[in-house]
Amino acid sequence: MAEEKEPVIQVKNLYKVYSVGENRVFALNGVDFTIYKGEFCSIVGTSGSGKSTLLNMLAGLEKPTKGEIIIGKQHIEKMTENQLVKFRRERVGFIFQSFNLLGTMNARENVALPLTFRGMAKKERLKRADKMLNLVGLNKHRTHKPTQMSGGQQQRVGVARALVVEPEIIFADEPTGNLDSHTSADVMNLMRDIVEREKLTLVMVTHDTHLAGFADRIFHISDGKILKIEDNRKHREEVEDEQV
């Protein structure tokens, strides 16, 4: 199966070292992996394991100390800040733990915001935002402000905002961290459905092994190293079979 897959993210020998006083802390200690197009991968680890650092580096929010990150065919680690901004604007969608919606804007405007940065005309970007809100089942809440919505609804808006830019990759940082288990499952199912339907690549960071189980592959990370990469597809199908 892997032979015909197209690699989207390649990480080679990645290190991140923080200096805390005189100590050197290895947040990432030599990480190698490849993520293919259309995959849903989760990175699981306890807090302090380096999983968030890894995600930030994949998204170009942090510079690695050493190593290579190749997304598509571009070396992220060599980009300037302006190039990184452009890269994020055009190829990446984000889903945050704390939703990070702008409180002054309603759902539509929040979803349309990344398109604003691309200089898209207002009419067009609101049309696309509406489409995305339909997709996540929030067309009744278009004009609601974030404070008027539940956590699950807010995160759906977050998902819509990540999708509206038609990204190649979506990064999700503990996307259900602020939600109860029931809504968490809803949001996870939504994300997985969309990823499968739109053939997107989704990289999710979580500390919850149960949520990680929604993914195709699970990267277990501890002390800055990948312990094992678990192919979850078979297991998941079995679980689904049981449910049916």
Partner: protein, 464 residues
């Protein structure tokens, strides 16, 4: 990002923090208004000065008189030293304003009008009263151009061979009765019983001979009296001093012919003589009235005329001196105003700084979502600029109001003479102050904007 979206975002951010924005804007309003009002006072003073100079003879005229004239009349040291330097060749005669020189003046660039002025003083009598009149013969054309306001009568017409006078409004005060001891107008405050226009005046040109004839032992016959007719009286009450108040004007051509006729073969009083004491062939004018097309050229032409060996004087020269002083007053006033705008600028910087702390997370989000760094900077600069723009605009309105009030109060205190001249806000000042307020706002917002731009998106997202 589109400019329109940027502007909308900036405005909505300002609107979100209404109270703080309004307070910051208030600072800019006060700052702008104080600068504008302070400068308007300086401009108003300057303008009223220029207006008054223009009213009293214009800023485009140069008065020219014969070169070296001072040495002739006040004598002494100067003349000696000039003689010495001129190596005794006899060519040290000053440059006189003859017809030839007048022609030369007319040839100078920017000169629109050049008229010689021939003045002479005569003794005028009417009834028991007499007075010394300073008669100024001028080109009628130039007299027209001076736009002297007539209270009654007419201006002299060309082609007349009789002496016809136009009197200044205060000429009449100089008439006195030599036989009474009451003194003139200055002591009694009563205007003499003289009718300048309807009654003829008897004029004595050869005053030397007249006084000699007063002494019966001299045996000199009193000189002939001539009749002069007043035809015009210039505007103004007995106390309104104007530049023309004490002058008596007439047609220079008529005056020239008259003088030549009266003093045939003799030296006309006030005229320079040749070295042997004989009268010169041609008349020398006392001064010339030169009009320049534009004020900016006056100093230039004045220097050229001085280079010809003539003496030249213009109001511009004095005005420039005075303006220099006004400029320093204006700078001080403007400086006082600038202090308050400076304080307002600190207010803007503070507001922007606060706004960045508050919006750290938001900035982080939009950065992660792919907002250009330049866009973030522009957005903050715009917010600061808007504060400056709104503050500058309202500040201008406020200063217009203050200016009105100042003028009103000054007029109420000092009378209508000073109307509208104390504080004057020209359109350019409004424009400049508006631009200046925007610039100050943007400058104050610059470092906060840079800070916002450089904010690490990660750190920003983590802030809760």
């Amino acid at each position: 990002m589109k400019l329109l979206d940027l502007i909308k975002m900036s405005i909505s951010n300002l609107w979100r923090r209404k109270l703080r924005t309004i307070l910051t804007i208030l600072g800019v309003i006060i700052g702008t208004a104080s600068i504008v009002v302070m400068i308007s006072l300086g401009i108003g003073l300057n303008k009223s000065m220029i207006d008054s100079v223009e009213e009293s003879g214009g800023l485009t005229t140069i008065n020219v008189s014969s070169g070296g004239g001072d040495t002739m009349y006040y004598g002494g040291g100067m003349a000696v030293s000039m003689d010495a330097s001129a190596s005794g060749s006899g060519s040290n005669e000053p440059v006189y304003l003859t017809d030839e020189v007048i022609e030369q003046l007319k040839q100078l660039p920017h000169v629109t009008v050049c008229s010689p002025v021939l003045s002479t003083s005569v003794l005028a009598k009417q009834g028991a009263y007499e007075s010394w009149l300073q008669i100024q013969g001028m080109d009628l054309e130039v007299l027209d151009r001076m736009n002297l306001p007539l209270a009654e009568g007419t201006m002299p017409e060309p082609g007349s061979s009789e002496l016809k006078f136009v009197f200044g409004n205060m000429v009449i005060q100089d008439f006195y009765n030599p036989k009474s001891n009451s003194g003139g107008y200055w002591q009694t405050g009563e205007l003499p019983d003289v009718d300048l226009i309807n009654q003829p005046l008897f004029l004595i040109f050869d005053t030397d001979a007249y006084y000699q004839s007063q002494d019966p032992q001299s045996g000199i016959a009193p000189p002939k009296k001539y009749i002069g007719q007043g035809i015009g009286l210039l505007e103004g009450g007995p106390e309104d001093w104007k530049q023309y108040s004490y002058s008596t004007y007439c047609d220079i051509e008529v005056l020239k012919t008259q003088l030549k006729k009266i003093f045939k073969g003799k030296v006309i009083p006030g005229q320079p003589t040749t070295s042997s004491g004989k009268p010169r062939k041609e008349l020398v004018y006392n001064s010339a009235y030169v009009q320049i097309d534009e004020m900016d050229n006056v100093m230039d032409i004045q220097k050229q005329i001085q280079a010809m060996g003539l003496q030249a004087y213009s109001e511009v020269e004095w005005l420039e001196q005075a303006q220099k002083q006004y400029r320093s007053i204006q700078a001080v006033l403007g400086g006082i105003g600038a202090v308050s705008l400076f304080v307002a600028a600190i207010g803007i910087a503070n507001t922007m700084m606060m706004s960045i702390y508050e919006r750290t997370k938001e900035i982080g989000i939009i950065k992660v979502l792919g907002c250009n760094m330049n866009n973030i900077r522009t957005m903050f600069l715009m917010e600061a600029g808007f504060i400056g723009l709104i503050g500058g605009f309202l500040g201008n309105l406020l200063s217009l109001l203050i200016s009105k009030i100042i003028n009103y109060v000054v007029v109420a205190m000092q009378g209508a003479d000073m109307a509208g001249t104390t504080s004057y806000i020209p359109p350019w000042l409004m424009l400049v102050s508006l631009v200046f307020a925007v610039l100050v706002g943007m400058l104050a917002g610059f470092f906060p904007a840079l800070r916002a731009m450089k904010l690490s998106p990660l750190a920003a997202i983590r802030t809760e």
